[in-house]
Amino acid sequence: MLKPREAISPGKIAWKRFRRDKWGMGGLIFIMLCLVISLLGYSITPDPTPNADRQCLEISLAKPFTRLEFIKQEKTSKTSTGFLKKIISGAPSDFIYIPVKSIQLKGDSLIAEQYINYRKGIVDEQSYLYQQEKISTSSMSRTFILGTDRFGRDVLSRMMIGTRITMMVGFIAMGISLLLGLLLGALAGYFRGWVDTTISWLMNVIWSIPTLLLVLTITISMGKGLLPVFVAVGLTMWVDVARIVRGEIFSIREKDFVTAGKALGFRSPRIIFKHIVPNVMASVLVIASSNFAAAILIESGLSFLGLGAQPPTPTWGNMIETHRNFIITEHAHLALIPGFAIMFLVLAFTMVSNGLKNAMDKR
């Protein structure tokens, strides 16, 4: 008797074919990477403060791979944050970091050559009574892999936290659109008649409004913040899902195995959920990943315009907006890096979507 594992399901065949698609696999790996970064959050960012918002105007606009020395000064009021909270929303720092060019110990004073403006190389000598003022006696160095932004914040940390917002918006928006789209599309496709007419009318109305405009309308009405973004993006993208689901269901319900199900005395719910819907999931997967990509694009556009997540929360979109004018300076990377990040993530999802489509192609 053959063991169940020996038979090859259509799903496994599709997965095997997908694995051979280099672009698709590459996209998938990149997405996994971003997912890991989002989940690990503050535990892996060089700057673990909430929103990676450790501003240090003295070292603003430092180039990538800048290595700087710091001395720490303990703050008078400290906060302690739980472990979980640390990962999720970051821990405010207990120290003030002061960038120095060099330090010297003289008795109970610490003489530091502090940077007033790192870029222009302006320093100032300061003397601290390190015991009293609670200053560390040795310096630590940090390398800013991607440099610092106009407020002296670590760009790499901000990019990592930004990943989280992007993934979150994409995920939730995609989830909402899939749920709504599947449900409404299935109802319209299976029952037809007036159910279909109503849902199609609704689809047409929403589809007639250019997505961005609808999203803008909703977000401006609901105010700033992330919630309107979720609602708006999810509410607009379900139409694509519903359309495809409806179309697929139209074609599947004509198939003989559905009629056979009726002839065998199966009830409608069984036919819909056990026979029709699983066959639609293939197309749904394809559109899920392309919807994810679309959601990311819309979110970045919104945060560029100042809607969505508000500063100091870093999103790739508002990072571009903050540094938009630097594009003509030597610090163009500050606007370009987040832009390319968006592009690569969207590209990754598109490649996955294409790969899935090709893998499930019956030919």
């Binding site: 008797m1 053959l2 063991k3 169940p4 020996e6 038979a7 090859i8 399901s9 259509p10 799903g11 198939k255 003989d256 195995f257 009629t259 056979a260 009726k262 002839a263 065998l264 005395g265 199966f266 009830r267 069984r270 026979h275 699983p278 066959n279």
Partner: protein
């Protein structure tokens, strides 16, 4: 009458990312001018690939062709395989033409029909637009299209299948080719339309002194149309020669099997011969004869007519199992405008008959006559506009949903397309045991599973197949699975809606035998729907002939066939290509 085409050691193989597949394996044959050779085979035999290889219409990148295809014309002989692409184009459409199987998709949907034919004329014969148009209209007259002028300006979607095929023929003969390749041109057409098209082809061939390669699976057509025949199986030609010789004294076991497994119209075998009765295959692909022969002289193989009469007499004494009265079903097609004007189609027009327990009622008709619709109505998969359906004394139309669901256990259906009848993502064991569990036929899941395995064996599959998915099976095997699934609810009455029409002739014979066996074992009653009168006559006790929604004749099978009462039945019988000599 010189040699026109000489094919030597032609082999064609296809490469995809995983493996190489040999479709045509070292075949050779030749054709003289004015002659017709028929290439016969079932699906997968390589017959279509052969014709596409001759015309070099295969994808150059994924196919490999080797051998020689020598074409002689006006004293010149060219090897078609050695020509560059530009060279072979001069032959295509001009010296060698081809018509295909699917007329519905073979014409460009957005260009006018006439223009598609004129295109050939202008390309190969350099005619001007006006002249080409005139010639096209003349061609349309020749292929007996009504109102040629009007058809010139029509688009393909406005015409019927038969009309489109005539246009394809016009296109093919437009430049007076010496060779016409016809790849199953009538398989997709109704049998009466097929008759006309075949007559047309014969006329044209005689008039133009054209040679023809006619590809088909229907031996009757071969008999009526061709001088020579080549039988193909798994890429090889297993037997070739004059039609008369091959059909009267076939040598190869495959040929013998092929000739025998199509239901004989004169005598009724007790069980249809299949290829396996004649031929054994070993793993290396070699064939050997089983040595059996089916002779109509052998009385043990043939059903005795007196036995049949007695059986039928007993059968009709009983109360009918199913009675339908005055069934009407109309569909409306939305016309133009605001939907107010719409044409009504009377799919089923006042149909009444009964089916007796243990009977097989054959329902035969051409496409669009309403037979499938009627089948669905009987099972209440479609609601009729009016009429009554009585099963086992109960009025089906009055039944509530719950009762109807219980009734469904007794009435089952098997559909035509083995590829869409099974849910592709469900293992077949689950597909068969699901109805058992829904109707709680067995007390436990395990009991259902065991019952399923029994059913699998009953239909000729193996227990291991329980865990397999539909895509791992062939068309014939899938039909067996579908039959097993229908049996899972222990029905009494089964509607077979063209359930063998999509299968190869040899597989068809196997499935029909299986249905016969099951009927003997369980005492089923069948309604057997088909467009193939020969198969229906073999399998049925009574035949009902349907035409445009009406039953034009109903009676005992042999009687209807040998002494048809209605004109339409006569037309149908006439149109069947008859196999001469056996």
């Amino acid at each position: 009458m010189g040699l026109l085409l000489d094919i030597q050691h032609l082999s064609t193989s296809f490469k995809n990312e995983e493996r190489e597949f040999v479709a045509v394996d070292d075949i050779s044959f030749s054709l003289n001018q004015g002659e017709t050779i028929a290439i016969v085979g079932e699906s997968g035999s390589g017959k279509s690939v052969t014709s596409l290889s001759i015309m070099r219409l295969l994808n150059e990148k994924s196919s490999r062709i080797s051998g020689n295809i020598l074409f002689s014309r006006n004293g010149h002989t060219t090897d078609l395989l050695k020509l560059p692409e530009r060279g072979i184009r001069r032959f295509r459409g001009k010296e060698i033409s081809m018509i295909f199987q699917e007329p519905m998709t073979s014409l460009n949907p957005v260009l006018k029909c006439g223009e598609q034919v004129s295109e050939s004329l202008r390309l190969h014969l350099g005619m001007s637009r006006q002249k080409a148009k005139e010639k096209t209209i003349a061609l349309f007259e020749k292929v007996k299209l009504p109102r040629p002028e009007h058809i010139y300006h029509s688009y393909p979607h406005q015409l019927s299948g038969g009309q489109k095929q005539r246009i394809m023929i016009a296109m093919a003969i437009s430049c007076n080719p010496s060779l016409l390749i016809a790849d199953e041109p009538t398989t997709a057409l109704d049998v009466t339309v097929q008759k006309n098209i075949l007559e047309l082809l014969k006329e044209i061939q005689e008039e133009y002194k054209m040679s023809m390669i006619f590809i088909t699976h229907d031996l009757g057509i071969v008999s009526e149309l061709a001088h020579q025949v080549a039988i193909m199986y798994k890429g090889k030609i297993v037997e070739a020669g004059k039609v008369k010789d091959i059909f009267s004294a076939p040598q190869h076991p495959y040929t013998k099997g092929l000739l025998a497994c199509k239901p004989n119209l004169e005598v009724r075998w007790k069980s249809l011969p299949t290829i396996h009765d004649f031929m054994k295959e070993d793993e290396k692909g070699g064939f050997s004869s089983t040595g059996r022969s089916f002779s109509i002289q052998d009385k043990s193989l043939i059903e005795d007519t007196t036995e049949r009469e007695k059986r039928l007499e007993d059968l009709y004494k009983k109360e009918p199992l199913l009675t339908i009265k005055n069934i009407h079903k109309t569909f409306s097609i939305r016309g133009r405008g605001w939907g107010l004007s719409s044409t009504k189609i009377h799919a089923v027009d006042d149909v009444s008959f009964s089916v007796y327990p243990g009977e097989t009622l054959g329902l035969v008709g051409e496409s669009g006559c309403g037979k499938s619709t009627l089948g669905k109505i009987i099972l209440r998969l479609l609601e009729p506009n009016s009429g009554e359906i009585e099963y086992g004394g109960r009025n089906l139309r009055n039944l509530g949903t719950k009762d109807m669901r219980l009734m469904r256990k007794k009435m089952q259906v098997i559909f035509q397309d083995p590829y869409s009848s099974l849910n592709p993502i469900k293992r077949i064991g689950e597909a068969i045991s699901e109805p058992m569990m829904v109707h709680k036929i067995y007390p436990s899941k395990n009991a259902c599973k065991n019952a399923t395995i029994e059913l699998l064996e009953k239909v000729g599959l193996k227990p291991e197949h329980y865990h397999c998915y539909p895509h791992e099976f062939s068309g014939g095997q899938r039909q067996r699975i579908v039959i097993a699934r229908a049996l899972s609810v222990q029905p009494e009455f089964i509607v077979c809606d063209e359930c063998v029409s999509a299968l190869d002739v040899s597989v068809q014979a196997q499935i029909i035998n299986l249905l016969q066996e099951l009927k003997k074992q369980h005492g089923f009653s069948y309604i057997f729907i088909s467009h193939d009168l020969g198969v229906v006559k073999y399998f049925s006790d009574r035949i009902a002939v349907m035409h445009q929604g009406k039953i034009v004749e109903i009676g005992e099978a042999d009687q209807v066939y040998h002494s048809p009462a209605s004109e339409y039945t006569r037309l149908l019988i006439d149109a069947i290509p008859k196999l001469v000599a056996v």
